[in-house]
Symmetry: C3
Subunit: 404 residues, 3 copies
């Protein structure tokens, strides 16, 4: 019977039947967040590995927009994919002249940098349409071996380095990355990543955690520092007796507890120049998040990042990055570790459990519990940051209406 | 070209073009019946074999509701499947403590009997959310080797034995059953089952009928007796001359006519204690139907039942049951007969013809003909029974609005 | 990431974001054309090869209508496919009596010529429903080895020979044809076929054109003659220097230019009786189009036709026909040429490029350019012809409302 189950239809029917479900019925508390089903505009997003973008167009969908990227004389360009003539994707075309893309259908030829229609081949050199049409283009950067696109509302983009995790900008690092298209809204992916509660329960069965104990529960506080909010674990409880139910623990003889970490808030200036891992770990709460949906998890010897890239309201890219801040020969063990373990245990099976939950999460309605403070603080951060952006744009005369 | 045919779109387009199709345009004559696309509430429905429900959750969809069933210390429990925390299906979880289900995502732990949230594992034993959330549960019974769920509107369920065919409650019987998910609305399945007309034409090619002649047509009356309405065949016509067309017959040298049956209405009280087959056959019209969509066909030596279980508006479960009212060693031939013939000829190919028709039926509009009196009487039974139920609930203060 | 691209959703999202796209936003300039997403009514359409229509029903969808065709005593009949009883497709049935179709479900039996219900087998010879229901029928003709159906609004069809290309009616010809179901609206297929611009660019890579040069561009005029509008090439340019970009040409050492053709407008009366190819070529502009979506391309030694048959708003049949106006033994080389080359190079790979474009065209919005005059004239022809038809029907008391 499972074939006939329609997880989309079921909730609606149920809600109608059963009336109000417990908890929060919508996200109107955070109107910008609620409206951002297809992502927050005004940010840089990674879309593809640099090495995968060559002389032929590569189609990408980002924040609901249909875009292609292409490399031209070394520089990556991005342009709206729909040919304005008859709506055919430009990504089916190719370069007939350097610095341009020609639509496969009638040879309309656009300048890759400016978007200007330079020629309509089948109408000859004096075609009166030349210069009358300009195709939207996007600003592009390459960082961390990936192509990043800025999706905004016509404003000048901020420098990408202001948006990247600080330690990645100024420190040499060796990188291992995966880009995976996944189903589900990007907000569920981001909330899952920063979520305090699920790691200890859902992931207890992950091979990645096989030899590492996790507490049953812990107390936490969320600390804001600059663009990031940090999840700082306070007390950890390694086993617990649940009244009327029994004992529950994440311990086992073959699992080791992690070493005790000291919380040295405000005492990290000197580290920052020395070891970026430690800098990112200044709140060893261990997980931090920033706009427009970036998770940073500082492990003792490396940092793991997740970029949740909105494709549309129902799909996102999971971009997982492991950075080891080493140089030269010291990077060699990293490759062994990454290819031998991280890539399939952590970015693979462990992260696959998250993928599963992101696909089946169905909220709101939602009834949040105490550890969901991490979600609430993230939504608050997203809301206030967006409010600031909208105000700043308005001052420059750009009125942004919510996508809905 | 057949790949491009869209049977859904075609009728709408055609109706618009051609104006009013002949006959009845909608089912507003029977408003409760028209509204019951996803089934009638207030009944017990079979959803799975008992032997398939063990210590792990089994997801079922019933009347549009997403439910899971699980066996706990021998007793089957049923609960709404959507975890109220973040909407993840509880059927992905498992038992962490006896008598409970824990959601796979964060370990929210519900009491299987009461639905009360007993623990949120990742928030520790003193989690303030404990006891604050109660998950909807469903009443469950096991009968005929199957798990039955009551779907109502908050009322106390009637005893399941009041709803089951009477002869199955108090007589020992050996049972052969199939549960098959099928496409199409449950009402088309039920109407097809009770339909007087199609058996003689559609099923004339079924192997099950290979050696059994069927009349070309017959006269019928519908007789109500208790919760059941019986289809009583009066005159049978074994061949017919159609004016301007020619002769048509269901006879052939290798087919035998069934033995003549006597109609002994009102003279069956003594049988009831003796032979349940005969009791069910008291109107040897041979087919009877009762709410919420149960067909009973009394053959000379056994009874066949079909339970049409609404999954949602577009899907149903076909639950076919053959009962032979024997005990002990006398049941052995039944198994040979069931496994050797009934299961694949009758529940298989014969019933597969019905499956096909239920999938492609597209009504209303419909132009009914004389043999469709069986359909009209069934709809009338459903309508008046539901009217009675709504009134009875209203007296107890439960106001039921139609699902649409 | 390409798996997650949804070409349907993208344009809508983009339009909203970016505001008005350049050019024409809708086709309200030609309201009949805009409304004819599922085709123009009042015409004959080819639906299947004659040889594929035998004694069993063949289901076809045409202009959104669900129809079946069947051969009865040599004559092809067409009837609405939905049995009015319960909506089951009559194409699942078969002939129980000559000249009739019986529905598979209950044996309702319709006269194939008149549509009258002659019998309801399961209700016996005196069934009161006989004669009370009449199923819609369609007029059918066979031409060019294919079955043609007239879809109108109740008017008497015009003779099919008035609609077929003139030269095919009165001259013997040997025919090679393909009927292919294709995705995309029939108007995109028709516009693609008559489109001046794309052939020289899109098809430059087709094997069919491997040894034949095509100009970079040319000037054209559209000339109306009777029911047809002709695309008359004036000046051809074989290479071109695009300012700021460079030289572009369709020439190559292994490609030959076509022979110069003389434009002999108005001087063709004498040819018409002699050589139909030359007659069709009287405007050697080479391509002409007529209602309801027929393309004719006159090559030096044969004529190629494309009939764009609307299935529904999203699908059409591509019917490609090659006609060689020869008789007797002279037809033999045609078969070698057709089966050896035309069928797979022209009707196959070349036409497959068009198929691809028709599937991905997404207009309006559209920003037309100079060569699109061919499209504009075709739309104008369709619009004025339809206006005339609507007026003529109104005089006969038939009011036709647009399908939307």
């Amino acid at each position: 019977m499972s074939e006939t189950l329609d997880s989309q239809a079921a909730p609606a029917a149920r809600r109608k039947r059963e009336g109000r479900l417990p908890g929060r019925q919508d996200w109107s508390t955070w109107p910008h967040y609620q409206a951002a089903a297809a992502g927050f505009r005004g940010y840089w997003y990674p879309v593809q590995f640099s090495s995968h973008v060559g002389e032929r167009p590569v189609r990408v969908k980002l924040l609901g927009e249909d875009i292609f990227v292409i490399r031209d004389r070394g520089v990556v360009r991005a342009m709206a994919n729909r040919c304005p003539h008859r709506g055919v994707p430009l990504s089916y075309g190719n370069k007939q002249f350097p610095g341009t893309i020609s639509c496969v259908y009638h040879g309309w030829t656009f300048d890759l940098e400016t978007g200007v229609l330079k020629a309509a081949i089948t109408d000859g050199p004096q075609s009166p349409i030349c210069g009358k049409v300009t195709q939207p283009t996007y600003r592009v950067e390459e960082r961390l071996g990936m192509v990043w696109i800025f999706v905004g509302d016509g404003e000048e983009p901020h420098p990408i380095d202001e948006q990247l995790p600080e330690e990645l900008v100024s420190n040499p690092a060796v990188i291992g990355a995966r880009i995976m298209p996944r189903e589900g809204n990007w907000r569920f992916a981001c909330e899952n990543g920063y979520d305090e509660g699920h790691a200890k329960y859902l992931h207890r069965t992950a091979l990645w955690r096989l030899f590492k104990a996790m507490p049953v529960w812990n107390t936490t506080k969320i600390v804001k520092r600059g663009r990031w909010i940090y999840r700082v674990q306070e007390q950890q409880f390694w086993d617990a007796e649940f009244p009327g139910l029994g004992r529950w623990t994440g311990l086992a003889w073959y699992k080791t507890k992690p070493p005790k970490q000291t919380t040295n808030i405000g005492n990290t200036g000197s580290h920052r120049q020395v070891n970026p891992v430690i800098a990112a770990q200044e709140f060893p709460g261990f997980a931090s998040v920033s706009m427009p949906g970036v998770l940073r998890i500082a492990y003792p010897t490396f940092i793991h990042y997740e970029f949740y890239v909105p494709v549309d309201a129902d799909n996102h890219l999971y971009v997982g990055v492991i950075a080891d801040f080493k140089k030269g020969l010291k990077t060699i063990p990293f490759y062994f570790k990454y290819l031998g373990a991280v890539r399939w245990l952590f970015h693979g099976q462990f992260s696959g459990q998250d993928k599963w939950m992101v696909e089946v999460t169905d909220a709101p309605p939602e009834k949040l519990y105490r550890p969901d403070d991490s979600l609430l603080q993230w939504r608050k951060l997203a809301e206030s940051t967006t409010e600031d952006r909208v105000d700043a744009l308005a001052e420059r005369g750009i009125v942004v209406s919510d996508p809905d």
